[in-house]
């Protein structure tokens, strides 16, 4: 894998195209095939010209691995007020100078999209625009699943498992099995919520270990590598629970000081973006446009849960980026370090950038980096009180719930149409919100207590909610077969097998339910003899 980056100067028509030319030289040296080169040049040149024509300054990044070429062009500029309009052929706001040169025909963005296997644009009026284009190097997969679906980034240390089976019953999407005293993850079903980690007493589950072959393998956070170098203009965005999570008196201020010692000059709380999203979502819900209840994407694991288990609620999901994703978009040209509290955040935040501008850290990795400083450091002066926080009192029609079981019930009610009177669902899969992530050090209530005793103000926030361009889509999980006829035959066999099972949902086979076990057997993931209670088999073991 290689990463290249080039600066682009807005308004400089003389050196326009130079970044793309330099990119071409490097790609030619690597030996990129001609059809890929052709598409890359069109996408890169058009994106570069967008910066030159419309923005003050920008950067082109290119990342190449064995499977694909990722291009990302970000600028500081006026942004695009209406992306759908801008994607329409013939629509342009280019200056007359640009038009005289043959630009501004309104074909640039459509050209980039046409030449990309994966195209994405995020833009904020007054801030800037980011365009991403991915070009696959090989032939496209004939499956109709989404391209380059990012896995949930759950990592397992199977040898720690003592087969207590708690995780398989906790997982809201039935993505876990225990076979032969070892946990097995079905990554297609995992939504990255880390509920399993909360149940597990043996620390089997974590996030962010390198997942070979995954799109983000290059940036995967192994937790052992220490922190990468921190550039002076870097921004660190972390959950409040991290600052309050260490078992140290006055921990928020101390941890903050230790992070500053580690080189982070600009440290922001993801809460800023969560509050911005809440304000925006309340205003939207108050404007009366449904469908109700609105489910804003506070928690990316809830979004993934809706996409996989409650697809009928997909239209209720608010069209914004999740708070951590929004934080990643806030500083278009600065290096940003995001601390993910769970696998879902880890993968969704990583997905907001295809390049090295963003580094997504696990709490464990950051903790390792600050712990030595924490020991050395005397308690810092108490920070300013955060005050009331400026959030309006919640509307009684809003429903807030946290924790897997509660969120599942609320979503079931909503799916059944029983929550029509609620305007907004404020849901997080971790107990008490992100601060309750099992990957943060302390219990959420202990952390909250520490925080309330020594809070750190986030008063200067200019965080804003960021509209989401990419549509939500149903997650199909594991397909029974690519061929629909075969899939139906398998479904029939699963059905038949379920009827022969006792329905005790005991977990003795390692699957959370008899239905899941039947599917495992038909899909070849388990042996039918795995059920000790099946008809025609031993009635009871031992």
């Amino acid at each position: 894998m290689i990463t290249l980056s080039y600066r682009i100067q807005g308004g400089d028509f003389d050196s326009a195209g130079l970044a793309t030319r330099k990119l071409k030289e490097q790609l030619a040296r690597i030996g990129v095939a001609a059809p890929v080169m052709r598409r890359a040049m069109i996408a890169s040149y058009e994106a570069e010209m967008n910066v030159v024509i419309h923005a003050r300054t920008g950067t082109l990044w290119a990342r190449l691995d064995e499977e694909k070429l990722d291009l990302e062009v970000a600028d500081e500029g006026p942004g695009i007020p209406d992306v759908q309009l801008a994607l329409r052929e013939g629509w342009s706001t280019a200056s007359s100078q640009a038009r005289q040169m043959g630009f501004g025909a309104g074909l640039g963005l459509p050209n980039i999209r046409r030449n990309s296997d994966l195209f994405d644009i995020e833009t904020r009026v007054g801030r800037g625009t980011r365009i991403r284009s991915t070009i696959l190097l090989g032939p496209r997969d004939d499956g109709d699943g989404p391209l380059l679906q990012t896995p949930g980034f759950l990592s397992l240390e199977p040898e720690r498992c003592r087969a207590c089976l708690r995780c398989i019953f906790t997982c809201p999407t039935a993505a876990l099995r225990v076979h032969g005293s070892r946990p097995v993850l079905l990554p297609e079903l995992c939504i990255g919520c880390t509920a399993c980690a909360g149940e597990c007493a043996d620390e089997v589950f974590g996030i962010g270990s390198a997942n070979p072959g995954s799109p983000d393998a290059g940036r995967a956070d192994t937790g052992r590598a220490g922190l990468p170098p921190v550039p002076p203009d870097a921004v660190l965005v972390l959950p409040r629970g991290f600052l309050a999570g260490f078992p140290v008196t006055d921990s928020p201020a101390r941890v903050l000081a230790a992070l500053q010692d580690a080189g982070f000059a600009d440290i922001r709380l993801v809460d800023e973006w969560e509050q911005a999203l809440r304000r925006e979502a309340r205003a939207f819900a108050g404007s009366g446009s449904g469908p109700f209840p609105l489910i804003p994407p506070f928690c990316p694991a809830v979004v993934a849960l809706v996409e996989s288990r409650f697809p009928s609620l997909i239209p209720h999901l608010g069209r914004w980026l999740s708070p951590l994703e929004a934080a990643g978009e806030e500083f278009p040209l600065r290096p940003v370090f995001l601390v993910a509290a769970c696998g879902a955040q880890y993968s969704s935040a990583g997905r907001t950038s295809l390049t090295d501008r963003l580094t997504v850290l696990t709490p464990a990795r950051l903790a390792e980096a600050v712990l030595p400083g924490l020991a050395r450091r005397a308690a810092a002066a108490p920070a300013q009180s955060a005050g009331p926080g400026g959030e309006p009192a919640p509307d009684p029609r809003e429903l807030a719930a946290t924790g897997v079981r509660h969120v599942m019930r609320v979503l079931s009610e909503a799916e059944a149409g029983a929550l029509a009177g609620a305007t907004l669902l404020d849901l997080s899969l971790c107990d008490g919100g992100c601060a309750g992530s099992p990957l943060l050090c302390a219990d959420p209530f202990l952390a909250l207590h520490r925080w309330q005793r020594a809070p750190i103000s986030a008063a200067r926030s200019d965080a804003a909610a960021v509209p989401r361009q990419k549509p939500y889509a149903q997650r199909h999980g594991v397909r029974l077969d690519k061929d629909m006829g075969e899939a139906m035959r398998r479904l029939a066999r699963i059905d038949e097998l379920v009827r022969s099972l006792p329905g005790r949902e005991c977990g003795a086979c390692g699957a959370p339910s008899c239905a899941a076990f039947a599917e495992d057997v038909v899909m070849g993931r388990a042996d039918a003899d795995g059920c000790p209670h099946r008809h025609g088999h031993r009635e009871e073991t031992e």
Binding site: A16, G17, T20, M41, Y45, M101, G102, L107, G108
Partner: protein, 117 residues
């Protein structure tokens, strides 16, 4: 068709630079918008346009285009010629306008594919 034959067909002035006069041209694409030109730019394709800024050469360079044909007898800017020399892009200047040049190319040769935006 070789680039020098094509130039002769339309009475074009030819600035070869480091480009060989024997460079093969299989196709001509005519357009006055950059996005359309880059979308159709390819090896062995001559770009025909009434634009005349030096970004044309950049596009030609990125897309391995052998040559660009300007029209209406313009005097190419020195900067454009300089860049064309550096990159080995042939610059032709047709005395006729874009439409007329297109027509002549279509009339004169059956071996050449001519497309327009």
């Amino acid at each position: 068709m070789k680039v020098k034959e094509l130039a002769r067909l339309i009475d074009a002035r030819l600035h070869l630079g480091t480009c060989s006069e024997d460079s093969e041209i299989a196709k001509v694409h005519a357009s006055d918008t950059m996005s359309d030109l880059i979308e159709h730019a390819a090896p062995a394709t001559l770009l025909l346009t009434s634009l005349h800024n030096s970004q044309l050469v950049r596009v030609a360079e990125l897309m391995d285009v052998p040559g660009i044909c300007l029209v209406s007898g313009v005097d190419p800017q020195p900067e454009l010629l300089e860049r064309a020399r550096e990159t080995g892009t042939a610059i032709l200047v047709s005395p006729a306008g874009l439409e007329e040049t297109c027509r002549r190319l279509e009339d004169c040769s059956g071996t050449l594919e001519v497309t327009r935006a």
